[in-house]
Amino acid sequence: MSTAALTDLFDVESELAPHERETRDTVRAFVDVEIRPHIARWFADAYFPREIVPAMAGLGLLGMHLEGYGCAGRSAVEYGLAMQEIEAGDSGLRTFVSVQGSLAMTAIAKNGSEEQRQRWLPGMAAGEIIGCFGLTEPTAGSDPGTMATTAVLTGGEWVLNGAKRWIGLASIADVAVIWAKALSDDGTPQVRGFLVPTATPGFTATPIEPKLSMRASIQCDIELTDVRLPEDAILPHNPGLRGPFACLNEARYGIVWGALGAARDSLEAALAYSAERLQFGKPLAAYQLTQEKLANMALAVAQAQLVALRLGRLKDEGRLDRHMISAGKLNSCRVAIEVARQARTILGGNGITLDHSPLRHANNLESVRTYEGTDEVHTLVLGQHLTGIAAFR
């Protein structure tokens, strides 16, 4: 029996349709060939492998849940399965797929005009245009409503000023979706999205370094100084925070699955190592303490995978509520980081090297549990759902 079959405690495999398994297997094969052999070096060198983007696009990974415009138009479950496999390779590379597809492309697909979709989405699906998504600011993280970036319409041009932080891919992006406060018709400030070609004068993106997490992907500071854009650079639909939040919910859904890929890979690494590593004349796997760790990890991952699949089926039926996404993102991140750390303990001292994946995953998951809503924020979303009381403030 393969390791994957061993750790699928509840035969979740049989819940998947053949095309869902094939989609997953394709991405798994891609990760085995294109990511696994290189990821330790990329992580060590803090290198984002832009050279694999065309192959990702060739599979249909970029904007795979979107319909039309060269996108693959796949279901939520298929998208989730793909994210799980990519993140079994590395969270940083899954982050790239999320930023490109779930954030930047989704922002244009949900909030953009038909002209904007036609102009940007096909190239982004093909991986020829890289996008990024600028919401978080140096002083506005969990509370994006306090953002200080402004957009002012003067003389038929939008002028953007402000700063963004922790923006994935910004330094290599061709286009940035920038959220800024603009005056609405009634004179009140309202969050609006803008499409900013990164070559526009006044736009500067600087990678944030050095990092102890997500080293195979890029996160940046963005400075916006008198960035002048044509009047049609604004995303016309869904003014207010629901615009970016709808995108964040797509990315969060991807994380529900993705984090479990990192967890599964950590478990499999520990399981394999425990069978080979001899101490006191027998394999680690023969010790009760190791077996307890393995059993607990496998149980946690399998339970969380059932949750992810349930959420995916609900999403495909259009019945996924906001609190469910929060519950899933919180649960998957909690499980994944705990499993990755526990897996490291089975690897002993060798587990702190880049020869093994669990500590790399655990370090990456520090970011995953923080972005797209921290553990704390998602806990409070659930608290609000249960009590009816918003305790964010």
Partner: protein, 262 residues
């Protein structure tokens, strides 16, 4: 450019293999395309893409489960699929399989000329590697086998093949039968759109009668070899673990010599 690619449905080499009456027990969930045939599909797709036009027709001689192999070919990009399936074909050996494939190629060729038949280097369940040559003999076409590199120009295929310490270049004019080595290319991964399209893409099913195959040429009746026994090999012996206390190299050398591995 019209290319026929032969694809075989085989038990997944990662799964447990069972035998009944000296035949492999095939379970649909565990079977898959012969992995080496993916190199043949890739080679065909590359030639058609380079030509800018053409068709890749995947052909499988198999039971109904052979559709699994055709679907894999569709996922990679094959344009058409033919499943040659008939109880009369059960138990075919290399000769019967080659006869059925030849009749299929001839029928396709009668509709529109076939330029090339491409096969993998072997089937992982049979490991005979003779079907391409037998097929070429049936068709009266040249055979170029075990190509590592394939080049098509001016109506002829030139291949590079490597054997031990020799590198050969061989050439033959179309139409011909070509088998490609597993080093010839890197089979593409199916993309999501083709995976979805392959779910519902229809293939044709042809019977022995459709191909006017003589009953004594195929199946058990036409088989010229007989399998006397087939059984799973016992699992490998226990792994021998040697703790290196400065003598590890000698222990390894002794193991290799003892097992005739050097």
């Amino acid at each position: 450019m019209r290319i026929v690619v032969t694809v075989k449905y085989v038990p997944d080499i990662a799964s447990d293999r069972g035998f009944q009456d000296c035949r492999v027990v095939r379970t649909p969930a565990e079977g898959t395309i012969n992995e080496l045939d993916e190199n043949a599909i890739e080679a065909a797709l590359q030639l058609v893409e380079a030509a800018g036009e053409g068709e890749v027709v995947a052909v499988s001689v198999a039971g109904p489960d052979g559709a699994v192999a055709l679907r894999k070919a569709f996922q990679m990009g094959a344009h058409r699929g033919v499943l040659v399936s008939d109880d009369a074909l059960a138990g075919s050996d290399y000769f019967g399989t080659a006869a059925a494939l030849a009749a299929t190629v001839e029928r396709l060729n009668a509709d529109a000329p076939v330029d090339l038949v491409i096969t993998g280097m072997a089937a992982l369940d049979g490991l005979g590697s003779v079907v391409p040559t037998l097929l070429a003999a049936h068709l009266g076409w040249p055979a170029l086998n075990l190509a590592k590199k394939v080049a098509l120009a001016d109506g002829a295929v030139t291949i590079t093949r490597e054997a031990d310490d020799v590198t050969e270049e061989l050439s033959a004019r179309l139409p011909l039968v070509l088998s490609v080595a597993d080093t010839a290319n890197k089979p593409r991964l199916p993309n999501f759109k083709l995976i979805m399209a392959a779910r519902t893409k229809e293939y044709e099913t042809w019977s022995a009668a459709d191909l006017a195959l003589k009953p004594d040429a195929v199946g058990q009746a036409g088989a010229r070899t007989e399998t006397l026994s087939a059984a799973p090999r016992p699992p490998r012996d226990e792994v021998e673990l040697v703790t290196d206390k400065g003598e590890g190299g000698k222990a390894l050398a002794a193991f290799l010599i003892r097992n005739d591995l050097v």
